[in-house]
Every structure is written in structure tokens, then in C-alpha cells.
């Protein structure tokens, strides 16, 4: 964009090289439409001609598709087109028989989503039972969770976080949009509260330390 500075920037991109916004909208529409997987803004920028502003085109396009049978949705840092949820009944033919998740797997997934980044030990403490080998394995394999950064506590345990695929699957724009997240946090139920009498080694600052990254607004 910088090298085309002959024309002042803003709405008025150079008419010579940057296509009209309507044309940019068509391009974004075509790319999103053709791709089953969500597309990043960076990817859009790379594909479209130089000087385009895909973010703006996306905003226009999103409005244009409001209330239609297909929608433009944001998933994390990516964008995709998805059918409107109320029309699911038409789609029986397309429905993929999803693998039935065990109750343990569903609970583990929820705990990871709401408490991320969370260690295996923390999951076990919340569930009051050890997490079976297969459960985490299955969630990793489905690419709904992945490894986060190691925790800065003794042993530097690995943590788990949810993936963009998870967000995509559940139609969430970000992990902040998890149902009931605010209420849970307000009720203090997402705190990592050490049991009374436990030696408060590094526990003091621990719980404030890792939540912010993912859930800060």
C-alpha cells in the first residue's frame, strides 16, 4: 500500500491499481464461498490484487448477507461462509454422523474451553476423577483442542486450549462467546481456588496469571 502513495489513502484507493470496493466485495465473496475452511485476512490480502482492503470488503459483504440463507461469519481471526443455523432442517442429507463423544470427553472439552489454558491436573481436580488416556487423545485427534504454552509452575506442565476448529464447529466467534462465560466468571467458578491448608507456593498469583491472555477483552 505504501508504494502507491501518489493518491492519498482512506476510502480513495488509487483507481488505477486497487479495484473498486464493489469489485473487492465480489472477490472476497468468491474466495470465502469457494473455501470450505475459514480464510484469514492475511490470506485474503495475499490473494487479492495489490491495494485491496479485504477487511472493509468483508464488512460490506457481511452486512449484505445478513438475514440470508448463507452468512458470513467470523471465527477467531478467520472468516467463512456458513448456512444459517435455522435452516439446518433442510440439510439432513449433508449431516455427517458425528462421532459420539463420551460424557467424560464432553466435560473435559467444556473444562478446557472455559478454563483455558488448563493443565491435566487442573482438569482432574475439577472433575474429581483422573482423565483417561483416550479422552484427551480423542479431542486432540478431532483437532478441537491443542497444546498451549507450558505453565510457569513447578514441573512446567503442558496446558490445553481450544482450537479455531472448535470455534468453527460450535459457531463461536471467539472463546469469549462461550455460553454463560460471564456468569461463571462473576460467580467465581472459573477461579483456580487452592484447597484451604494447601501450601500456597506459587498459588497466589497463579490464577490471575494465565486467564487474561485468552479472555481479556
Amino acid at each position: 500500500m505504501e508504494d502507491h502513495s501518489a493518491v492519498p489513502d482512506g476510502e480513495g484507493e488509487s483507481l488505477f491499481d486497487a479495484p473498486l470496493m464493489a469489485e473487492q466485495e465480489r472477490m472476497v465473496e468468491a474466495v470465502l464461498f469457494a473455501s470450505a475452511a475459514p480464510v484469514t485476512l492475511r490470506d485474503l490480502t495475499a490473494r487479492m490484487p495489490h491495494g485491496c482492503n479485504p477487511a472493509e470488503a468483508l464488512a460490506h459483504l457481511r452486512r449484505k448477507y445478513e438475514g440470508r440463507g448463507v452468512q458470513v461469519v467470523k471465527i477467531g481471526d478467520t472468516w467463512a461462509m456458513r448456512t444459517a443455523p435455522d435452516l439446518g432442517f433442510l440439510m439432513q442429507k449433508e449431516t455427517v454422523e458425528s462421532r459420539k463423544l463420551s460424557r467424560a470427553a464432553i466435560e473435559t472439552l467444556a473444562i478446557i474451553a472455559y478454563h483455558q489454558p488448563v493443565t491435566r491436573a487442573e482438569i482432574e481436580e475439577i472433575r474429581g476423577v483422573s482423565v483417561s488416556r483416550g479422552t484427551v487423545d480423542q479431542l486432540l485427534e478431532m483437532e478441537w483442542i491443542r497444546l498451549g504454552r507450558r505453565k510457569m509452575t513447578p514441573g512446567r506442565p503442558v496446558t490445553f486450549v481450544v482450537t479455531p476448529q472448535f470455534l468453527d464447529h460450535f459457531g463461536l466467534e471467539s472463546a469469549r462467546d462461550l455460553p454463560g462465560l460471564k456468569e461463571l466468571r462473576a460467580a467465581g467458578l472459573l477461579e483456580n481456588r487452592p484447597p484451604p491448608g494447601a501450601l500456597a507456593l506459587g498459588d497466589l498469583d497463579e490464577s490471575d496469571e494465565e486467564q487474561p491472555e485468552l479472555f481479556e477483552d
Binding site: 472433575r127 476423577v129 485427534e141 467458578l189
Partner: protein, 263 residues
Amino acid sequence: MADDLFQETAQSVAERLAAEALIVDVDGFEGPLDVLLSLSRTQKVDLRKISVLELAKQYLSFVERAKVLRIELAADYLVMAAWLAFLKSRLLLPQEPGEDGPSGEELAAHLAFQLERLQAMRDSAAQLMAQDQLGRDFFARGQGEDITRIKTVTYSATLLDLMQGYARIRTRDDFRPFVLDRESVFTMEEALERMRKLIGFTGSWTDMLSYLPDGWHSDPVRRRSATAATFAAALQLVKEGKLELRQSDTYAPIQLRSCGEEP
């Protein structure tokens, strides 16, 4: 009145069944916390206002009855029982002044917190699964574009592949350092050494195959290796000017003779 009575017995039957189910179906429970959560439901109050003392009593009797029924209880059930017995004593007896450790109330409050948190996570899990889901309620593009303009191959692997790959290596049973199976291999070095000793005696043309070492004639694998090595060694000796090679026809025997102090 009669209705009430009827209802009451019906309810108590249901309760009895529930209590029995609780015992018989230990496997159905996911750990002691799960049992406690189920038990706490019978108190029908806010989890925050739950009577931990009552809960402890219920759990301990649950463990007692399970023992009577000779149900194998996992260790963590018994650990929980011991802990609750301790908690009960703390709750019933006033804390000695100057005594260390958390009070019964603190411990009870933490247990209540744990139960509430577990219940909250269960509810959240249910809410999560009730969200609109991709492939069930809303759908991605069903058909990729079939433009085949530029075909680039990218290779992909998931973290799981990577970890499994590493795990595979690190747990390989039949691991051994890579060594060729040398039993049936006659190396060129060996052939060369052997030939150098023998060529002095070859004034006249001799079939190369007669230079194969003893015991390397019959087994085809060994013969092949020895022949190749001997031939390579012969070529080397020709290069050094110590030997001559000839072959009268295609597939005919290769003959060699020394050309050193030959007259």
C-alpha cells in the same frame, strides 16, 4: 389425603431405588466428587447452602453400604471417605485455640465450591453441546471449487502425527542399531586381498569363477556377492596393471591372467 399417602410411598420407593442404584452402580459414577454431587441433589438446595455435614454422613453411609455389599471401591472413594470423616470431626468439634490448619468451615466451603464448580461445568458442557454445530445445524460449502489451474503439493502433518511418530521411535521394541546382514556378503576388500595373494600363480588364462573362495559357490546369494566382489577386485587389479581380463563372447566365462613378470 389418600393421594398424599400414595405419593409419599411412591416417592420413598423411588428414593430407595435411587439409593440402591447409587450403591450398585459405582462404576457409573465418575469418582467420589460425582457421587457427592448426586447425593447433594437429594438436599434440594443451592449448592452454596448445602449441608456439608449431612453430605459427609450420606457419603460415609454410602461407602459403608457398599462395603456390606462387598462392592470393590476404588481407592479414591476410600480416600474421600477418610477425608470426609476428618471433615465431619472438624465440623462437630470446635477447633482448639492455637490449633493449626484450616477450620472445618473452610474445608466445607471448599468442598461446596468444588461441587458447585463441577455442576457449573456440567451445565456448561450441556450448553455447549446445545450450541448450533457445524455439520448438524449449519453447514460449510459442500463442494470445493474444481478449478485445477495450479497444482502445488503441500505436505501436512498434525501435532498428533508428530507425537505419535516420536512415541513410536522411543518405544520401539525391536530397536537395534542399523547393521547390514553381512553373513552373505563378500566385500571387494576381501576379494582384493584374496586375489593379490593368488594372481602371482596365474600365468595362463583362468576362469575368474575359480577364484571364488571356498564355500561361496553353492548358495546363490553368496555366489552372487562373491562373484561381484571378485570381478570388481579384478577390475581394480587391471587398473593397477597387474592383471589382464578377457571374455570371448557375451555371457562367456571371464578369464584372467597375471601380467606382471610374465615372459
